[in-house]
């Protein structure tokens, strides 16, 4: 398993962002769904080794990232796109991606080709020399995805990757996700249900820091059948039904 989470909890002061999450994931595209504030980003940041868990066990790529040396090994094979992507405005797209390729400890000889390939994969080949400050929001997002995939990661963590992308780019991006899912574990945090339906082999739904559903997109769709939950698409009906059920059982949250 590339990702093994056991009873993982993260608190920020008195607020519990993630509460007792247990999850395993191997290669494939894993969708993490949930409303705003459900704890998706905190869970992703723990998996990205940005923040340590308050309690519980976390193993990534067969290693415990709690210690420095294994954490460094994990990071070498990690791709991460945060929810709000910062950037250096004076860097070009190629500079930006090369910068992270070097920080990810890629062999320097492989960096130029890997940078060019990553930029091509996100469709920014013709803007490789453009300064980041000149790019649109969607293009910046794609530059962020390029830096995440430049090291051909074994574990790719994407937080709202399709935010700001136009429909054509989203379709292309889902294809990219499926391609990566063939050989790596891709975890996509999103609240866009259609992305999950189109690209994910597995899906988990979070509510108030807990996993309230885990299964395939088809299973999530099935949860919505016959329910009176609102939502146009079948997957969205399933999403709403699961959330409604979770919210109607306060004891489950206690």
């Amino acid at each position: 398993m590339n990702v093994e989470l056991t009873d993982l909890t993260r608190r920020f002061g008195r607020t519990t962002a993630v509460s007792g999450v247990t999850l395993e994931a191997g290669p494939g595209v894993f969708g993490l769904l949930g409303p705003n504030g459900a704890g998706k980003t905190s869970l992703l940041r723990m998996m990205a080794t940005v923040i340590p868990p308050t309690s519980g066990r976390l193993r990534l790529l067969g290693r415990d990232p709690g210690s420095y040396a294994p954490r460094r090994e994990v990071r070498r094979k990690l791709g991460y796109l945060p929810q709000s992507l910062g950037y250096y405005p004076g860097f070009t797209v190629a500079d930006f991606v090369e910068y992270f390729a070097l920080l990810k400890d890629m062999p320097p000889g492989r960096v130029p080709a890997a940078v060019a390939a990553a930029i091509e994969q996100v469709g920014l080949g013709d803007r490789a020399r453009a300064k980041l400050r000149t790019l649109s929001g969607g293009m910046l997002r794609r530059a962020g995805i390029a830096q995440a995939i430049v090291n051909d990661p074994d574990l790719l963590l994407l937080d709202e990757p399709t935010a700001g992308l136009d429909p054509e780019q989203r379709v292309a991006f889902r294809g990219l996700l499926r391609e990566f899912g063939q050989r790596a574990t891709v975890i996509v945090s999103t609240h866009l249900v259609e992305d999950v339906g189109a690209a994910c082999t597995e899906v988990a739904l979070m509510e108030q820091g807990r996993i309230v559903f885990h299964g395939t997109p088809a299973e999530l769709t099935a949860r919505g059948e016959g329910s009176g939950a609102a939502g146009d698409a079948p997957l969205e009906r399933g999403y709403s039904a699961v959330l409604a059920a979770a919210r109607s059982v306060p004891a489950a949250r206690a």
């Binding site: 398993m1 590339n2 247990t22 999850l23 395993e24 994931a25 191997g26 290669p27 494939g28 894993f30 940041r45 990205a48 080794t49 940005v50 790529l61 067969g62 420095y68 040396a69 460094r72 090994e73 990071r75 070498r76 094979k77 990690l78 991460y80 945060p82 709000s84 992507l85 910062g86 950037y87 250096y88 405005p89 004076g90 860097f91 500079d95 090369e98 910068y99 992270f100 070097l102 920080l103 990810k104 400890d105 062999p107 320097p108 000889g109 960096v111 830096q147 074994d154 050989r183 790596a184 574990t185 082999t201 597995e202 988990a204 996993i211 885990h214 395939t216």
Partner: protein, 524 residues
């Protein structure tokens, strides 16, 4: 919960450690291309031009004088310091300001390594800019025919100071990241410079000598002309500034997110090493004492630095007496010969009168407030020894050729009377005044000459009213004005004699005059 599929973890080939320098070089190249420092260099260039270069051009074309302001008093550092600290803080706070700290943190390379690459690029631009500006300034000086030799050690101090400001500013930005880090660092650097200058003016010895803009003891007029610039104090300052830089860079590696335990321990050692180096520099500066040719730190002093620089003097004639100067002072030879001509005309041929006038290096004592060094007549045959470096040369600090000539006449006449390092006896003062009158410095102007800045302390002592019956000054009060009193009356009588009679009287009484046995009443 289990994923749909399960597959073994792929392993990439282990990272070759030999690629680390190459990766660092590529990171540095990236940072150099996108560094903010080049944008501020034109502003620093303007400050450098107006504050460091332009004021220096009012000085005579001698390296030690031209660079006294910008290198000796550290104005080049003042011009760079605040800007460099501010930009470095801006670069240091970049990751947090740009919201990219998470991304940098989750890379395999330590955050410290990434920050050091960013700092190195900033420092290379800043120090490179400093060296280029100084090189251009020195090139212009060389083109203008400036004499002597450049103060390379002080250039090294400036480069170390720029590096230290860069590191300190970067550390402020990295440890306290916000948009205010840059202006705060710049203002802090400005305050440090201001306090350093202020402390430097009032502390001529002790720990304060370590401050890079402390002008005390940095430069001596013979430096680079008669003797090499002493490297003792510059070495201590470089040690101090490099220590600050190293400690600041080490501090960046101490926070938990900077890297692994081994790396953080290394950062702690680096920080400690920097503090020790800086402390050692301060300690060494505390042992500094002003030697004959500059600041000497016993633990660092190399006797080879005391060896005089060999040179072939340039000579001229003045009233039949050879006047020889160091070639660095070649352009002043006509002024010196012209100024000495009337004095030497009065005393030439007298027993004990100089047969040659030669420039010597000034020797400096450690007494506070001591300026200059006495002009003497000594040796057999007698030679007038002139420490010209202690005088305000024409063009130096607003000095004119006329003032220079008057001071030269005063000092040479004072030496002739045998008054030594003091104001002399009333008789010696009277003869001095009479000879000055004969040499073209009227009585009414002599108080002004005596009160000029840069003369040995006996000159101002001559102006004081007599303390008791023995010494009667030529004036009742300080400052220029008509001279009165018994000394001046005697001087007027001697000056009124025909030159041949005055010459004959001096020939007969010179020995007694110089030994201090002659009284005012014995003057003609």
């Amino acid at each position: 919960m289990t994923a749909a599929t399960s597959a073994p973890v792929r392993h990439q080939p282990p990272h070759a450690s030999r690629s680390v320098p190459l990766t660092a070089a590529r990171l540095l190249r990236l940072e150099l291309r996108r560094n903010p420092m080049p944008w501020i260099l034109p502003l620093i260039a303007a400050a450098f031009w107006f504050d460091s270069y332009r004021p220096s051009t009012t000085q005579p074309p001698i390296w030690v004088l031209r660079t006294f302001w910008n290198m000796g008093q550290g104005h080049t550092i003042i011009d760079f310091g605040p800007f460099v600290a501010g930009v470095a803080a801006w670069a240091g706070s970049r990751d947090v300001r740009r919201g990219i700290a998470d991304l940098v943190t989750v890379t395999a390379r330590s955050r410290w390594a990434a920050q050091l690459a960013s700092w190195a690029a900033t420092a290379i631009w800043a120090v490179g800019g400093y060296l280029v500006f100084v090189a251009v300034m020195f090139g212009v000086y060389a083109h203008q025919g400036v004499q002597g030799s450049p103060p390379w050690w002080w250039v090294a101090v400036g480069a170390a100071a720029v590096t230290a400001f860069c590191a300190a500013g970067f550390a402020v930005g990295a440890l306290f990241p916000s948009r205010f880090a840059a202006p705060l660092a710049a203002f802090g650097a400005f305050l440090v410079m201001a306090m350093s200058s202020r402390t430097g003016f009032s502390h001529t010895s002790g720990w304060a000598l370590i401050l890079p803009t402390n002008s005390n003891g940095n430069y001596q007029p013979p430096s680079g002309i008669f003797y090499p610039y002493l490297p003792d104090l510059p070495i201590a300052r470089v040690m101090f500034l490099a220590g600050i830089a190293v400690a600041a860079l080490g501090l960046i590696g101490l926070p938990a997110g900077a890297g692994g335990p081994w790396l953080r321990r290394t950062a702690a050692v680096v920080t400690l090493a920097g503090v020790v180096a800086a402390g050692t520099g301060v300690g060494l500066a505390g042992t500094a004492r002003l030697g004959p040719h500059g600041m000497v730190i016993p633990a660092l002093h190399d006797a080879a630095s005391d060896r005089p620089i060999r040179y072939t003097p340039v000579c001229g004639q003045s009233a039949g007496v050879a006047v020889c100067l160091n070639p660095a002072y070649r352009q002043f030879l006509p002024d010196v010969t012209a100024a000495l001509r009337p004095v030497l005309g009065e005393v030439a041929g007298l027993p004990g009168g100089p047969v040659r006038a030669t420039q010597v290096a000034g020797a400096y004592s450690s007494g506070e407030g001591e300026v200059g060094a006495p002009m003497t007549i000594s040796g057999r045959p007698p030679v007038l020894r002139m420490p010209l470096g202690s005088l305000n040369l024409p063009g130096a600090f607003g000095g004119s050729t006329a003032q220079f000539a008057q001071q030269l006449k005063l000092l040479s006449v004072h030496a002739f009377t045998g008054a030594g390092a003091g104001p002399g006896t009333p008789a010696q003062q009277a003869v001095q005044a009479a000879l000055l009158q004969g040499a073209g410095v009227p009585f009414s102007a002599q108080n002004g000459v005596l009160s000029a800045v840069g003369l040995p302390s006996w000159a101002s002592a001559t102006l004081q009213p007599p303390a008791s019956g023995h010494g009667a000054g030529p004036a009742e009060e300080d400052g220029p004005g008509p001279a009165t009193g018994p000394v001046h009356a005697a001087a007027r009588r001697l000056a009124a004699l025909p030159p041949s009679a005055r010459h004959a009287w001096l020939a007969a009484h010179l020995g007694a005059l110089r030994s201090g046995q002659l009284t005012l009443a014995q003057l003609p």
